[in-house]
């Protein structure tokens, strides 16, 4: 009988409160997604090449997990509070019917566990599905293909997700149950009483509001102004001042806002008809009593927006470049040639060639190039630093070109080409050099003049992306022999067979070939290994910041939504009185919708204003993004903004629907 009651109550809770149940499911998904990170394709691959870094990241995961637990606790706490608040009368009744407090607690805990079990049964498959999706999409985005994909099921992650979820749920219920246990049955039975409207000193509130605005403006000033000087302590002090002013300003702004809304209503209340005054007063009351929650939610939203923007920017802006060669092997010509004849290696290789790249002692006459650069605006920096110390043979570069399926270059007739691996990723650098080359530039080599091809060449000549060449001259082979300090090949490039990479996926094919090369005793760099290093930090940063951002976004929205719904339920007698006074149910629903819209707008407007400044500050003064990102700012902003707007629309409509459903359920006979 008891357990049947528990099951029925839990089912009623789930049915009647989608937000409550949704919050539980979200928390499970959040935990599992984070904890199963090490089973994701990208992380497994990165682990195979950057095991130390991955291990460091994995030691960081428990910390992020604890932070998540802390924040998800609030999500679950508010969801459970909303749920139990609406049942206080029922609890009072149980106590009056002779149920012992201990049994009441036991019943609530059983209900919590039962709801938890159902949430787990729904949340875990969703989480598994989601992490699989993330794993596949990330692998696809990075170019690993899906052939090497393995299911990212993690038993440990499930275990920890369940533990975290149960702890958070039980702790929330414990905190909620203590005041219920201490309350007299009469208090529980008459729990509908709303808080009394207290008049706060208008002068004090206005002072809070103005002071809040001033503090926010101060924070904005610190954020927007360029950091002056190189003194690090001044820099950190200004960041600290920015944070303190921003946080304090937000709290004070909301602290003073309620009274300001009240003033506005008092001025207008005699001029408006319908439920406008009631709507305004409801919003004012919510702000007066919830100003701390509003400030916290607004700040959480700010963190969410900043995290998501940063995560997306870092994720998209990673400098992978195009795939030029799969392996660059260091070794003597004979050794490499022998190894390439090994049957297991030979069957995997499409083409291989030596890369002739070397420093040169020859001083090039770059006067003509510098002259051309001087004519271009904003090229001062390049003019001052321009130098060329490397040469690259025409054949090596053309072999690379043909392997990539690109047109080879022709340097016959005293021609040369300018090469730089800082090329396309550096935006301005690439554009300025390219522009200068268009004006028929020449370079002097040992008294002879070579005309430069009218384009900058930038395709990576070796697999290792960390090797960057400021500039090099691509010269005909005979000239290379004369100029090169060392005529031995710098390395050997190997391209894998397309049929093989199609069959195994680039990731597996690379791993297989790497194994053979290592076995043969070669030092080598692979395309994936090289971008892996590059990628690791960006993927890890991007993944974790987006994860935390989404979590904060969901938590802040749920808190705002639940705070409103709790307040509405507490004040349901007002709606009944309004019905008695002749208000239409649909009028009340419209008023509730307006209240929700205004309530959310109050949180969102401050959060968005703060976020714009915060994101700008973050990307200009605090951290530098890869240059490629700057050109994508608009796209990034559009992606982040649309995701944010969609999330808000979904949340606001869920809260509106719940609020209206509760109003429609009210009857004028519900009084008392």
């Amino acid at each position: 009988m008891f357990f049947k009651q528990v099951r029925l109550n839990a089912a009623r809770n789930r049915k009647g409160n989608g937000l409550f149940f949704g919050s539980l499911v979200i928390s499970i998904i959040a935990f599992y997604t984070l904890l199963s990170l090490d089973k994701q394709d990208v992380m497994r691959f990165l682990g195979s090449i950057e095991s130390d870094a991955v291990r460091k990241l994995m030691t960081l995961i428990p910390l992020v997990y604890v932070v998540s637990l802390f924040f998800v606790f609030f999500l679950v706490y508010f969801a459970c509070k909303y749920q139990t608040d609406s049942r206080r009368r029922e609890f009072g009744m149980y106590l009056m019917l002779g149920m012992k407090r201990g049994r009441l607690f036991f019943m609530l805990f059983c209900e919590t566990l039962w709801s938890g079990l159902v949430s787990l049964l729904i949340g875990l498959p969703v989480a598994l599905f989601l992490t699989e999706g993330i794993s596949l999409v990330t692998a696809k985005l990075i170019g690993f293909g899906i052939i090497g994909h393995t299911i990212s099921f993690s038993a440990d992650a499930i275990l920890w997700a369940v533990c975290g979820f149960v702890i958070v749920q039980l702790l929330s219920m414990l905190i909620i149950c203590i005041p219920i246990g201490n309350a007299e049955p009469a208090k529980l039975l008459n729990s509908a009483a709303s808080e009394k409207q207290a008049l706060t000193s208008a002068r004090k509130s206005t002072a809070f509001f103005i002071f809040g605005i001033l503090l926010l403006l101060t924070a904005y000033y610190f954020g927007l102004s360029e950091p002056s000087g190189t003194n690090m302590s001044t820099y950190y002090l200004s960041i600290l001042a920015l944070l303190v002013a921003g946080v304090l300003g937000t709290f004070l702004l909301y602290r003073g806002l309620g009274s300001l809304i009240g003033k506005l209503i008092s001025r207008k209340s005699q001029k408006v008809a319908g439920l406008a005054t009631f709507t305004g007063r409801q919003v004012q009351e919510n702000v007066l009593y919830q100003h701390k929650s509003l400030a916290v939610s607004s700040l959480l939203l700010l963190i969410a927006l900043s995290c998501i923007s940063y995560g997306i920017a870092v994720g998209i802006g990673r400098t992978t470049g195009s795939r030029t060669t799969d392996f660059s092997v260091i070794g003597t010509e004979t050794d490499v040639a022998t190894a390439l004849k090994l049957p297991e290696i030979e069957e995997m290789v499409e083409t291989s060639y030596p890369v002739h790249l070397s420093r040169t002692k020859t001083k090039f006459d770059t006067g003509n190039m510098i002259g051309a650069l001087k004519k271009i605006l904003k090229a001062d920096n390049i003019v001052q630093n321009f130098h060329t110390e490397y040469v690259l043979s025409e054949t090596s570069y053309n072999r690379l070109m043909s392997a990539m399926g690109k047109e080879p270059i022709d340097l016959s007739g005293n021609k040369s080409a300018l090469y730089s691996t800082m090329g396309s990723n550096l935006g301005d650098f690439y554009n300025l050099l390219n522009k200068a080359l268009k004006s028929s530039v020449t370079v002097g080599v040992n008294g002879e003049t070579y005309s430069l091809l009218p384009k900058l060449y930038y395709d990576n000549i070796v697999a290792d992306r960390s090797i960057t060449l400021y500039t090099a001259l691509i010269v005909p082979d005979e000239l290379y022999q004369k100029l090169a300090k060392d005529t031995e090949p710098f390395c050997w490039n190997i391209h894998l067979k397309k049929s093989l990479t199609d069959k195994l996926g680039l990731m597996q094919a690379t791993q297989k070939m790497g194994g053979y090369l290592a076995k043969a005793g070669f030092k080598y760099d692979s395309y994936l290994g090289s971008i892996g290093r590059n990628l690791f930090y960006t993927v890890a940063t991007s993944y974790l910041t987006i994860y935390l951002g989404i979590l904060f976004l969901l938590i802040s929205n749920t808190v705002v939504g639940l705070k409103y719904l709790i307040q509405q339920r507490r004040n349901k007698h007002r709606y009944i009185t309004l019905l008695m006074l002749g208000a239409d149910t649909e009028d009340l629903c419209r008023s509730a919708k307006k209240q929700i819209q205004m309530f959310f707008t109050l949180v969102l407007s401050v959060a968005v204003c703060n976020s714009i400044i915060a994101i700008f500050t973050m990307f200009t003064n605090l951290t530098r993004l890869p240059p490629a990102v700057t050109s994508m700012t608009t796209t990034l902003a559009a992606i982040a903004l649309s995701a944010f707007v969609i999330t808000e629309i979904i949340y606001i409509s869920i809260v509106k629907r719940t609020a209206c459903r509760e109003i429609r359920m009210l009857e004028v006979t519900d009084r008392g």
Binding site: S194, Q270, G274, R574, L581, G672
Partner: protein, 260 residues
Amino acid sequence: MNTNNRILQVDGLTKIYGKDNNKTEALRGISFDVLEGEFLGIMGASGSGKTTLLNCIATMIKPSSGKVVLRGKDISTFTGSGLANYRGKKIGYLFQEFELLDNLTARENITLPLALHGITGKNAENDIRQIASKLDIAEVLNKFPSQMSGGQKQRVAAARALILNPSIVLADEPTGALDNKNSKILMDKLCAISDEDHKTIMMVTHDANAASYCSRILFIQDGRLFHELRRNMATETSASFYKRIVTVMAQLGGGSANVL
């Protein structure tokens, strides 16, 4: 009885709660009329059906059978906006627990029924001032309920019930949550409004003191009309009417055989 100024007609009203074996008959065919300007009291023991009767007239609950006709219109035919219009404009309701919206000032509470019917407070400023002065609440108009005494709250609630000049004011134990002093102030004010403005008031009460302000009292027992007392307003003092009320109340416990 002059039926020309009959404002409310209750005809064969029954209300049954529950079904089959669990049926409870709260009202068993009550019929009476209320005349314009009358201050009618409804009295009876707990569970006698007096609040159910008031709630049926206020459209808070639907009667099982019978008719309630206000100014010639059967209120059971009202739905949607007609019902909202009836609740706001045709009747004013005074609750035992005041039911003021505690986040609105007294003025905003009073103008709420106006606002709900598209009238701004500014346009009704004269009415507000008049009614506030009659009920002696002018000085609390800009205060919130939490800053008022119980008596002031109930008078603000009365102002709210009267602001739209309804055909009838229904009061459910209006003195139930007030002390003697505030009960007397409220009843004096309601009585004055009934006399001077010829306002019809129908009040459910347990309190013989409050009932002694009425011009007529209907006693209900077990869902039926049990007795009726009329006060001769010209000759009878409220003190002697009070004695008659108390006598009837004493008889209510002992059954109809003892009624004088």
